[in-house]
Symmetry: C2
Subunit: 201 residues, 2 copies
DNA sequence: CGACGTTGTTAACGATCGTTAACCGGAAGG
DNA sequence: CCTTCCGGTTAACGATCGTTAACAACGTCG
């Protein structure tokens, strides 16, 4: 209750004032990219989704690839920053539960972002693709480090594979959208992911 | 040893003789669609991948969408047919293990097919999309039925959500490709998925 | 009031897309 | 030997793509 996953950033110490149009475009683009894929969405579609014509988009982004790049960088940074905070809990069991709670809440709140994040990495321009990959790897390593504390002596590559598999489980919900309500789905995912990870160690 | 997941069909009782060019194109298309997405692959790319020019493709398929549609129908039918065979085991515990073995083997043998199968359903023309969806649902129901036999009295929507989550876990491997060899990865996925499903029931 | 930066528009560009047309070499069959 | 079909080619089509240019409405500030 002291913090919640999708909270408002309130104000960053440095950086330009957050342009609401940019955020609006990014949100609409996430939805469209998730549904039809990056190449299945045109600049015209993107503009229309926020009530503008296509070329208006160039007032806010340098191009279509820049929209995707900023989107993926933002997601990766948020996952890593919040993940690192949760993983810092001195009790590795609590850290793992906190990681699970955070990741599940993020996935349930932002299904489109999760989908694009794991599908369109190769589409992003090389320059920023490396940064995104580095952030993704670092996020995985937060999980691996917690699991290593829970069970030292396990080979790291096996632990890494288990973490990737757990992410697959957690990130699949955007596309299933079963008849369960949010609380039930959250609890189910938590239970299943924890059981899967424990069985692998 | 009486059967293996990726076995040759040998000969179907009815239907045209299997054109090797069609199969070659479908295999190349699966790889490309998985890597760059349906809209990120052009007819020229498709032809080039099998040593032809773009328009040559129209000697074997009525168009680009037909390639995708046939690909998804074929996958869905194979999954359902083989899944139903495994699920028929009178012992539900054995049936679940057989389903897990089959699905894991298929995913490890055909990572591109698994990827396209779960990503591009909305891209397929409506006519055949409904058939694919029906087959996919039937495959899920095979799993749900086995789990119901293992634990009667559980609400079906929860079981269905658990199955979807388990598929997310199993299908994530194509995109992780960790440092484990095939046998180790197969065993790890089996263990994790079974633990996840058991924890949900 | 006038200059200006901001944010939108429509029009137009070159490139690329999926698809069709027209043609061509070679194998098979009478 | 001639015909026919099969599976390829190159050329060309209209549509659509991402992007840029040129222009307009509007608030702000000197």
């Amino acid at each position: 209750m002291t913090s919640h996953p999708a909270g408002e950033p309130a104000a960053e110490p440095a950086g330009p004032p957050p342009n609401p149009r940019r955020a609006e475009i990014l949100a609409a683009a996430a939805e469209l990219f998730a549904r039809r894929g990056y190449h299945g969405v045109s600049i015209g579609d993107l503009g229309r989704a926020v009530g503008l014509t296509g070329p208006a988009l160039y007032r806010h982004f340098s191009g279509k690839e820049a929209v995707l790049a900023e989107m993926l960088l933002d997601i990766s940074e948020r996952l890593l920053a919040e993940g690192a905070r949760r993983a810092a809990d001195p009790d590795p069991g609590h850290a793992l539960d906190a990681l699970l709670r955070w990741h599940i809440a993020f996935a349930l709140d932002n299904p489109a972002l999760i989908t694009v994040h794991e599908r369109e990495l190769d589409t992003v321009p090389a320059a920023q693709r490396h940064r995104v990959r580095r952030l993704q790897r670092a996020y995985v390593e937060e999980w691996v480090a917690v699991l290593r504390r829970l069970n030292p002596g396990l080979p790291d590559d096996r632990t890494r594979a288990a973490v990737h598999a757990a992410f697959g489980l957690l990130n699949s919900t955007p596309r299933s959208a079963a008849g369960l309500d949010r609380a039930a789905m959250s609890a189910l995912l938590h239970t299943m992911a924890r059981a899967a990870l424990q069985s692998a160690t």
